[in-house]
């Protein structure tokens, strides 16, 4: 049961959310406010004891998102340098997930409108793609190569420039 008080504006109020597979979670209102969708629901008085249903977010990613929001809401303003560093470390560890979870986080953060998390997941995905061969990327992201051999040859030829290796960094000039 959420620790509800009579004061609706109390930021200590707990907000309940329900995953697509029926699991209940709760987080402080300040944390829920990091999600655009939840904030709007709260503003519209849709946050009740039954919890806000999130039809497309399963329990596994939702648990991560609640974690993320709770951590970030607790340290949102007036960060000291150490706290900012700590939050950065938290983010770096937080996003060390497998590609399935990464996909779920991309979709869920986008759906729930959690901007910071979206950016984090997008950056992580880009980092996974960067510097990889097409075959490595197919493996990482489970993409099926549906080109015919002829098509593939042609398309690789067209994009040949992208496969060239630049000089290794030595000195600047």
């Amino acid at each position: 049961m959420a620790a509800a008080t009579d004061d609706a504006g109390d930021s200590n109020e707990m907000i309940r959310v329900v995953s697509s597979d029926g699991e209940h979670f709760e987080m402080p209102e300040a944390a829920a406010n990091l999600s655009l969708v939840l904030r709007h629901m709260i503003e519209d008085d849709c946050a009740d004891a039954a919890g806000i249903p999130l039809a497309v977010v399963a329990a596994k990613p939702l648990a991560k998102i609640v974690d993320y929001c709770t951590k970030h809401a607790a340290k949102s303003s007036g960060l000291t340098i150490e706290e900012a560093e700590e939050l950065k470390r938290f983010d770096a560890e937080f996003i060390e997930v497998d590609t399935d979870m990464l996909y779920d986080l991309l979709v869920a953060a986008d759906f729930m409108g959690v901007e910071g998390l979206s950016k984090l997941a997008v950056q992580r995905t880009a980092d996974l793609i960067k510097g990889k061969t097409p075959e490595q990327n197919r493996e990482t992201f489970g993409i099926v190569n549906d080109f015919t051999p002829e098509e593939e040859e042609e398309i690789c030829k067209e994009n040949e420039w992208a496969f060239q290796i630049t000089k290794p960094p030595s000195r600047l000039c």
Binding site: K130, K132, T166, R171, C173
Partner: protein
């Protein structure tokens, strides 16, 4: 991620806009749907837009840039200050440094790696064959076309793309009036090329001595990928 549905388009574009052009080029070859997604005009829009150049210094003087705190690079740059010119270029959100060498007539584009610990040379351009039109000291790097890896260059009077593979430079647009100065009472035409939506547009500007008198015109490139067809809106008459 095979078992998942396709990510929403805007999320995919978001991801790709963080990638260097070469990674995009390689990623286009993984499957049909990715090829289609990464060739769509609206994608190019977004991608090229995020590679908008910053203004380069007009004068040819070295800018003090500290590339590496403990290497000799910095010192050697200072020594060679007269022939080198550095300016910042933003390529897809990443800050890169373009170094043009006046003596060698080359431009190199360097980018910082993810951890901001090392620089690597992304592109090296030899411009001697295209000088004086594109001499390195007056050429600015605009961005990289992710469909073919060519680099858009502008000199304020000519606009072209450079193929880093073959070293070939093709001019797409030239301020023609500059060759007929008498027709415009000696007015040297210059333009600023900008990438806007699907088009490259330009606006001309005049020497400071002559205040602008409604001489705006726009020349749009119909499609960044397509043939070099420019749509021109005639400039207003100058008295």
């Amino acid at each position: 991620m095979e078992q998942h549905a396709q990510l929403p388009d805007h999320v995919v574009l978001d991801i790709v806009s963080y990638l260097p052009a070469k990674s995009v080029g390689r990623f286009r070859t993984v499957s049909r749907s990715w090829l289609a997604a990464l060739s769509a005009p609206f994608f190019l829009d977004l991608y090229l837009l995020s590679g908008m150049p910053t203004t380069r210094p007009q004068s040819f003087s070295a800018v003090s840039v500290k590339f590496d705190s403990d290497s000799e690079d910095e010192a050697s740059l200072d020594d060679d200050g007269e022939k080198w010119c550095f300016y910042a270029v933003q390529l897809r959100g990443a800050l890169c440094v373009a170094c043009s060498n006046r003596d060698a007539n080359t431009i190199d584009v360097w980018s910082m790696n993810n951890d901001a610990t090392a620089w690597s040379m992304e592109y090296h351009m030899e411009l001697a064959a295209y000088s004086p039109e594109y001499s390195s000291e007056k050429t600015t790097v605009m961005g990289v076309d992710p469909t073919n890896g060519r680099i858009w260059l502008t000199t304020w009077q000519s606009l072209g793309h450079y193929d880093p593979k073959t070293g070939e430079l093709v001019t797409e647009y030239r301020a023609r009036w500059m060759n007929q100065p008498e027709a415009l009472n000696g007015w040297m035409s210059r333009f600023c090329a900008v990438i806007c939506q699907e088009s490259l547009i330009r606006y001309p500007f005049e020497p400071l001595a002559q205040p602008a008198r409604g001489a705006w015109s726009f020349v749009g490139h119909a499609d960044v990928q397509g043939p070099p067809v420019f749509l021109r809106i005639q400039p207003k008459r100058r008295d």
